[in-house]
Symmetry: C2
Subunit: 344 residues, 2 copies
């Protein structure tokens, strides 16, 4: 039972005066196709300079801007590369990576759009992204399944690239295995002669995707040795760090991998306030190689993490868009290396 | 002279199998209009439950997702709220604000899209944004002029909201005057008895939008008194901080407002390495009230900055979208308050 709604009494005010390409064509005295070719810089079509100029002047006079959506409907796809915006506050490493990526993609004439997907998960999020008809989708973290990839491809995405610990059927994968971060940290502490190794695991939700493999990495590094690994849940709060520091001697740890440099700073302060000497009583290492680690006393040892460069990722996206039928690529892209300073 | 290009030999592979609403209509045995009403949840149209179910089942079977662009072309506008993505790495305060805003807007059924505009400036950027036909645009910082606002409105944006130090003709303004941050910092140092006040000004490009008004604010706070303000350019690097610290005694300063907590940490470390006692020789205050300030010794005094809540901003956007003809609103939204700790 379908009832057609009444036509609204009037068009909304903001819409009445929106100029169209037909208006531009009329003012310039050319066809709509010509307007489209000129304003979209189609190189396949030769148009005389005076005509080009007339079209640009008419567009300027009317304040006409081409409609990306209409263009993508005509072309069958857009130049939009969609990335879900991170739901957890982005750290400085991630911000820098995104900036680089945007820059590299814009040089290849793509537009990067970060889509807020708070409250959406997995394949449900994929459906929301598909509505924007991006030509490519970059998905950091976990959660997207093969079904989500299929939804995106059916709605016209030529490339789906995941950045995370595992690959997903149908998508290209940049494999970022954070276990490697824990492995080099654990190996370093073991080689410094430490055998009772604590590993900080943040209690903040959303960080498990990093903290779980980092903890696993430390366990792998000392597997089969006499070293013992102890998991240390910690919230990013002074009081929580003070409570952990108060029972430090009872824990009997001689080393700690503090998840990252920020948690290391938090824990170092609390341990020093308790009189625990670093590195004499407890060796400490962080991760991410942030500036603040160099400013601590003792200077903080850390794991320097090498992410894929924005340029490399942009080139993978462009390759995949041009050849959507190609077999999915898989690349291991996370590098991890210890920077040894004074705290370990 | 226009030549029409040849039709491509075949449709691109990813496109051939993209299901359309016509396919869904055929499989469900209903009209395309019915498919559209069901999948877009149009409440104005009554459709029987069995019909709804048939449409949903057909859409699921075919993997059909509605096209936001097509829908926005029909409706005349989208539910897309566009924000330019920041070109400078976003700090934790900004990340939290964006997350809150996304959450609040998604509850009002808007989609927040952050658009990378590296390499585009001012009204040129506005034209790029206009191509996506957002229903509203939120522009942090400076650079958008009245012309850019006009371009956005002519292309269908019902609301343009700027977040920055000044208002722009035709746009709603959330006025965030960072001079207030410098004012409370300068007044605090003056009231602590300090008269020779240094102000750190980051050398990193892109931060002038904050650092210039913060410096001005300190000058305003001590205007007409016997206090003297000295500008201290500083790059966010250990060596630069060490060089500044080496000539600290020659500068003869008894106080410093360090731009923010991160620059304060950098400078505090360099000054302490030079034997400058804080606060005895030099009182120090940062800004942003980050956790790291509480972890420094002495604990860092800071300026706590109150940004508008994501909910308030989302409500302003929604109000403006519903009534695009209303006069632009102006709100002063930045609150600044000193948190006095041990460094000043």
């Amino acid at each position: 039972m379908v009832q057609i709604p009444n036509t609204p009494a009037s068009a909304p005010p903001a819409q009445r005066s929106v100029p169209t390409s037909a208006d531009v064509a009329r003012l310039a005295g050319v066809s709509r196709a010509t307007v489209s070719y000129v304003l979209n810089n189609t190189s396949a079509v030769r148009i005389s300079e005076p005509t080009r100029r007339r079209v640009h002047e008419a567009a300027k006079e009317l304040g006409y801007v081409p409609h990306a959506a209409a263009r993508s409907l005509r072309a069958g796809h857009s130049r939009m590369v969609l990335m879900p915006a991170p739901a957890i506050p982005a750290g400085p490493l991630y911000s820098q990576f995104i900036n680089e990526l945007q820059w590299a993609l814009s040089r290849l004439d793509y537009t990067v759009v970060q889509y807020g997907t708070l409250g959406l998960h997995g394949d449900e999020a994929a459906r929301a992204w598909a509505e924007l008809r991006p030509v490519a989708v970059l998905v950091p973290g976990q959660g997207l399944g093969p079904q989500g990839v299929a939804v995106l491809k059916r709605s016209g995405a030529r490339a789906v690239v995941t950045l995370g610990p595992a690959s997903v059927e149908g998508a290209h994968a940049l494999l970022m295995d954070h276990a490697a971060v824990g492995q080099v940290a654990g190996r370093h502490l073991y080689e410094r002669g430490r055998r009772r190794i604590g590993v900080v695991v943040p209690e903040e939700p959303g960080l498990e995707v990093y903290s779980t493999p980092r903890l696993d990495g430390v366990r792998q590094a000392v597997h089969g040795t006499d070293a013992v690994v102890t998991e240390l849940p910690l919230a990013y709060e002074e009081e929580a760090a003070a409570r952990l520091a108060a029972r430090w001697r009872a824990l009997g740890l001689d080393a700690v991998f503090a998840y990252n440099d920020e948690y290391a700073m938090l824990l170092m302060r609390a341990l020093q306030d308790e009189g625990v000497r670093i590195p004499e009583d407890t060796a400490m290492i962080g991760a991410d190689d942030l500036m603040l680690g160099r400013l601590l006393r003792p200077r903080l040892s850390t794991v320097h993490i090498e992410l894929p460069s924005g340029r490399e990722l942009a080139e993978l996206v462009d390759r995949a868009v041009r050849d959507p039928g190609a077999a999915p690529e898989r690349h291991e892209v996370l590098g991890a290396e210890v920077v040894h300073r004074d705290s370990s």
